[in-house]
């Protein structure tokens, strides 16, 4: 059997637990299956623990045993695609939406997404921001066609539940014994760098404008979408606010 086949069968054994095809090619003085299980455990436990480490707030919300079971399922179904475990788990919250727990905790997926985004922005490093003076030198007629690059420690997310309030309760350890969550649309800007983070709500038009810019679309398109949400939206003022916040680190025409 060639090396590719051996590694294919080994992959099956490690990720899914199906070891029947690799077993004839393994050797050891004592129980081969127990020894193979060491590698199976290394794979599962290292990734499960990595996920638990990234979602402590979610564990607080639903309990570690449940989260661990979901993490086990996730690592079996979705192995990492790159050797940077820091990047692994962005899709993990989506698994909650498919689980029966979503019926009881319908905001679980959004809460976990907020937690992922917080973790992402907190390890970013700020880049030098463009100043209003630098941008004022640009011909105003070119502005609508420009795209802007924002700080890496910025994320935008919308949710149908006030998960930001829930996150604040977790972070400040001030959760009451009983909390009645009511659905309500929230548009969040999550900002962080060098180990720090914060998040705040934006009004719907400003959220559309900023998140569209962050997605790499033209200023004109972002403004048009924002105006579609609120015809009174002042995109000039919103653009200035974005720049004065130090969020813009690059532009391309």
């Amino acid at each position: 059997m060639c090396l590719t086949d051996i590694q294919q069968h080994m992959r099956e054994a490690v990720v899914t637990g199906r070891a029947e095809q690799i077993m004839p090619f393994l050797s050891a003085a004592t129980d081969v299956r127990n020894r193979l299980a060491i590698h199976q455990r290394n794979y599962e436990s290292s990734l499960v623990n990595a996920l638990l480490g990234k979602f402590p707030g979610t564990a607080w919300l639903v309990g570690t045993p449940f989260l661990r079971e979901m993490a086990r399922r996730f690592v079996r179904e979705s192995p990492p695609h790159a050797p940077c475990i820091a990047e692994y788990g962005e899709a993990f919250p989506n698994l909650f939406a498919q689980s029966p727990a979503a019926d009881h905790v319908p905001y679980l997926c959004a809460f976990a997404q907020l937690e992922w985004n917080i973790g992402h922005v907190a390890i970013a490093v700020d880049q030098p921001a463009l100043t209003i003076e630098e941008l004022s030198e640009i011909d105003p007629s070119l502005l609508p066609q420009m795209t802007l690059t924002l700080q890496h420690g910025l994320r935008y997310m919308a949710a149908s539940w006030p998960v930001d309030e829930l996150m604040k309760l977790y972070l400040t350890e001030t959760a009451p014994d009983h909390l009645q969550m009511e659905p309500s649309d929230v548009s969040l800007e999550i900002r962080g760098s060098s180990g720090e983070f914060h998040f705040n709500r934006l009004d719907a038009a400003d959220f559309i404008f900023r998140s569209t810019i962050a997605a790499g679309e033209r200023i004109a398109d972002a403004a048009e979408r924002a105006l579609g949400t609120n015809p009174a939206f002042d995109f000039g003022q919103s653009l200035i606010s974005l720049i004065l916040s130090g969020f813009v680190i690059g532009e391309s025409r």
């Binding site: 990492p80 820091a86 390890i123």
Partner: protein
Amino acid sequence: MEMESMSLSNAAGIGLRLPHILEVAATRPHVGWLEIHPENFLANPHAAELLCELSEHYPVSFHTVGISIGSASGIDNNHLKRIRNLVQRINPVFVSGHLAWSTFKHEYLNDLLPLPYNAEALQLVEAHLHKVQDNLGRSYLIENPSSYIGFTTSTMSEVEFLSELVRRTGCSLLCDVSNIHVSAQNMGFDAHTYIDDLPSNAISELHLGGYTPEEGLLIDTHAAPISKDAWDLYAYAVRRFGPKPTLIEWDNDIPPLTTLLAEAKHAEHIAVEASLKEVRVVSH
């Protein structure tokens, strides 16, 4: 501490993990050098920035865990490029990785999986080693793995495989003394003979890490102090290879920084003692 005042050749270093990075940056403890897993820094710009600062005060070594030099499905070019970018930024004294594989096609299995030791695997590792060294523009040290299982398709021992790899490529080796002890116990070979059979001139670095006994096997957990057996084997390795940069690895259940520093001090003490014994043996 200034880098010029340190001699890497006789120093012991510690594996710098993320829980300690702020403390090391703030206190700058006296330690010979630092080794990091670059994969922990590629997607963490804040940690990479701190590492960049630390590299101005300590020699830094890269110990890769994701290059996967034994993967039959090839080396991940994107990952290699990211490692190269960090290498160019930090300029580490060594870059090393394991005689193992961890990626299959586009999946990363987050473990160091074993290879059969035969001509096909040797040819593959040789080709990948050339590719990695060409891409990084520097030597890439190969570390002996800790083993739990072998393959019926193996036609040579691990030490024969490594020696042939050195003969073919001129590569250097990172000799993990604890891995030799773990593998010798698990696979039933003599650890001292293994050390005797390694090509001495190729050894550039030594590793020591803790293991955990479990159901008659030793598991390479890097979650415990170095055992007396491993220290004794380390002294034997120093007598055989001479003093080498030695690293204390501790990756799970990470203790206070002071514990790691004390282990590094102990490694330096044992290396000095072992070197003196070697001199006495030579002078007889």
